[in-house]
């Protein structure tokens, strides 16, 4: 088991390393560089000044060298300074991270809480009315553009009904649970609707597959009733592929979070990355992107462990 973990950790590190280089390189291709920005901010800077500044910041060096310098600093704990927030990058990042973890955590919990039983209910009688209805709703959820849904939610609950805020989070010291929670209701609802359809469909497919296996017939031949057959014999087998797909979906979930956060002006990692890219804050964007990648990789790793726990045939020696 520990060997497998070691192997996967190493693999994740390689991914992270390659990712950091690619993003660093892409950031270099963004319109404008820091010096251009300074020039536009201060017209007194001459072209000689600019060249000197470029040399000072190392911007005249080849990309690999600049990357290695950055990497060295990052490994040493120096992630640079965020222009947009006028703070060191980690300080800008951490509050956003907390907000996103809260949003995604609640969403994932709700989505699985609704999606897995719904998928199971659909799978028990495929092509029945229940299945048909659940399927229809699941497809609607998958097909709804998340940003449009967000607009609709705002129109209904903020513009017309005026019961929920259209965006933001509670001001610091906003008193009481509801003050905090009401800013979460619409984003969580939006993201949950966007992801629950997928979870329902995965569960339905995995459950149908599990229910047509030979061991189900064995369980019935043993005298097991429908509840025991479904919950005792099929469910655990069905969860094995579902765990994998759900974990592969973490990246997708985060993409949904970016949209939701942007539309609802919810200050999480997604909005932060979007703002950082749009605002030419490349230090922040780079680190934030890597951080999100790291989170997804950790999620995948946890799923691998869950997989091994569910399926005795897998032994990560």
């Amino acid at each position: 088991m520990s060997r497998f973990l070691l192997h996967r950790l190493l693999q994740s590190l390689v991914v992270l390393f390659l990712m950091s280089f690619v993003i660093y390189w892409l950031m270099g291709l963004m319109p404008g560089d820091p010096i251009d920005l300074m020039i536009s901010a201060d017209p007194k800077i001459t072209s000689e000044d600019a060249a000197r500044l470029r040399a000072l910041y190392g911007l005249d060096k080849p990309i690999t060298e600049r990357y290695l310098n950055w990497l060295g600093a990052a490994v040493g704990g120096d992630f640079g300074f965020s222009r947009l927030y006028a703070k060191p990058v980690p300080e800008a990042l951490l509050p956003a991270l907390a907000n996103t973890v809260r949003l995604l955590g609640i969403t994932l919990f709700l989505s699985l809480l609704i999606g897995l039983p719904a998928g199971m209910a659909a799978a028990i009688r495929p092509y029945s009315k229940t299945d048909y209805t659940i399927n229809l709703l699941a497809f609607a959820g998958i097909s709804l553009p998340a940003f449009w849904l967000a607009l609709l939610l705002i129109i209904v609950f903020s513009v017309f009904l005026g019961v929920l805020p259209a965006g933001g989070v509670a001001a610091l010291g906003g008193d009481g649970f509801w003050d905090q929670a009401k800013y979460l209701v619409l984003p969580v609802a939006n993201l949950t609707i966007a992801s629950v359809g997928g979870h329902t469909r995965y569960m339905r497919a995995a459950m149908i597959e599990a229910l047509r296996q030979d061991y189900i017939r064995t369980a019935r031949a043993k005298g097991a009733g429908p509840a025991r057959v479904v919950l005792g014999h099929a469910l655990r087998n069905a969860l094995i592929p579902v765990v994998t797909i759900v974990s592969l979906d973490f990246g997708f979930l985060f993409s949904g979070a970016l949209i939701t956060e942007t539309v609802f002006a919810y200050p999480g990692m997604g909005k932060l990355i979007f703002d950082a890219i749009m605002g030419n804050d490349y230090n922040l964007a780079l680190v934030a992107l890597l951080f999100v990648t790291l989170l997804i990789l950790i999620g995948n790793l946890l799923a691998d462990l869950a997989y091994a726990w569910l399926d005795p045939r897998i032994s990560y020696r």
């Binding site: 693999q11 991914v15 390659l18 990712m19 993003i23 892409l26 950031m27 270099g28 291709l29 963004m30 319109p31 404008g32 399927n135 229809l136 497809f139 609607a140 998958i142 097909s143 709804l144 553009p145 998340a146 940003f147 449009w148 849904l149 607009l151 609709l152 705002i154 129109i155 513009v159 017309f160 047509r212 592969l248 990246g251 997708f252 985060f254 993409s255 970016l258 949209i259 942007t262 539309v263 997604g270 990355i273 979007f274 890219i277 749009m278 964007a285 992107l289 999100v292 990648t293 997804i296 990789l297 995948n300």
Partner: protein, 305 residues
């Protein structure tokens, strides 16, 4: 027990068609898509007939309600919404289809090579695919969409072209969208290459290329078709979200996504503007999903009847 079709002269296609026809939602999806596609294709013709122009600004007639002259009303610049939606549909469908087909081709090639040759090549390609899957897709697309094409050294004629945003979005979606098909094809190829008919083809001396194209590819084409159909919907969603965020198709070219950008800004003054573009995206994507689901049932060899 022996199936009922074991000795009848029904071909596999006919059987698949029969199963597909039973799938009413898939039929509905196909019909809706056909209608949308023909409306989009004939948009210029419809514009001429109705005497409308997708670019014509009419500042005296902003936020007009639906009328005989403007079936769905006008936007904040007094442009006709209906005809802009049709033109937007052309773009969205075109991007969705092209990007998906390119992505499917890349994915099939990668998956086929990995699955057929196996070993180190497989390990390398699949680690690469897994890594791409693990990436946070949308933020990365935003980075790619924000890249300054001048710095990539592309010819200025291309960079300054009106349609560069179109090419760019097709390219970047294809660049990240191939992974599903690649994994699918690789998995199927791994299984098929162990089948006895492939072994027997190697036994009579068929080469790698022939085995891949004649013996493996035709046997995994159905899941690829299904996955591709389903992913057209995803690509349309991606395009619209990028356009919505201002990074995809650039105005004045309309797309369903960037039509919604304006709508968001005007959400307090004209909430109705958000209705139609989103509705069209939704209908298109759900139709594609139904179609894909129907195809899956029809083409699935494990289907119960």
């Amino acid at each position: 027990m022996r199936g009922p079709m074991a000795d009848t002269a029904e071909s596999m296609m006919a059987l698949a068609l029969k199963r597909f026809r039973r799938h009413r939602l898939a039929i509905a999806g196909a019909v809706v898509l056909a209608v949308l596609a023909s409306l989009a294709a004939t948009a210029p013709l419809i514009a001429t007939i109705l005497g409308l122009d997708w670019e014509a600004v009419d500042l005296l007639n902003r936020f007009a309600p639906s009328s005989a002259a403007h079936p769905l009303g006008t936007d904040e610049l007094g442009r006709d919404l209906f005809i802009r939606l049709l033109y937007g549909g052309r773009i969205s469908l075109l991007v969705g289809l092209t990007a998906t087909v390119v992505a499917a081709l890349i994915g099939t090639a990668i998956g086929l090579l990995a699955g057929f040759y196996g070993g180190r090549l497989d390990a390398l390609l699949m680690r690469f695919t897994d890594s791409v899957i693990a990436l946070p897709l949308l933020p990365l697309l935003i980075v790619l969409a924000a890249v300054d094409l001048d710095k990539l050294g592309l010819p200025p004629s291309l960079v300054q072209s009106q349609y560069v945003s179109l090419y760019r979005i097709i390219a970047i979606v294809a660049l990240v969208g191939w992974t599903t098909v690649a994994r699918l094809v690789r998995g199927a190829a791994l299984t098929i290459r162990e089948r006895d008919f492939v072994l027997s083809a190697r036994g009579y001396g068929a080469g790698g290329f022939r085995i891949m194209t004649v013996h493996i590819l035709p046997n995994l084409i159905s899941p690829v078709i299904v996955a591709t159909t389903l992913s057209v919907g995803n690509v349309i969603l991606l395009e619209s979200v990028l356009s919505f965020l201002g990074l995809g198709i650039q105005p004045p070219i309309p797309s369903w996504g960037n039509l919604l950008t304006n709508a968001q800004e005007l959400i307090w003054t004209a909430p109705g503007l958000a209705m139609w573009p989103g509705m069209l995206i939704f209908i298109t994507v759900i139709a594609l999903n139904f179609l894909g689901d129907g195809l899956q049932d029809a083409l699935d060899p494990k289907a119960t009847d």
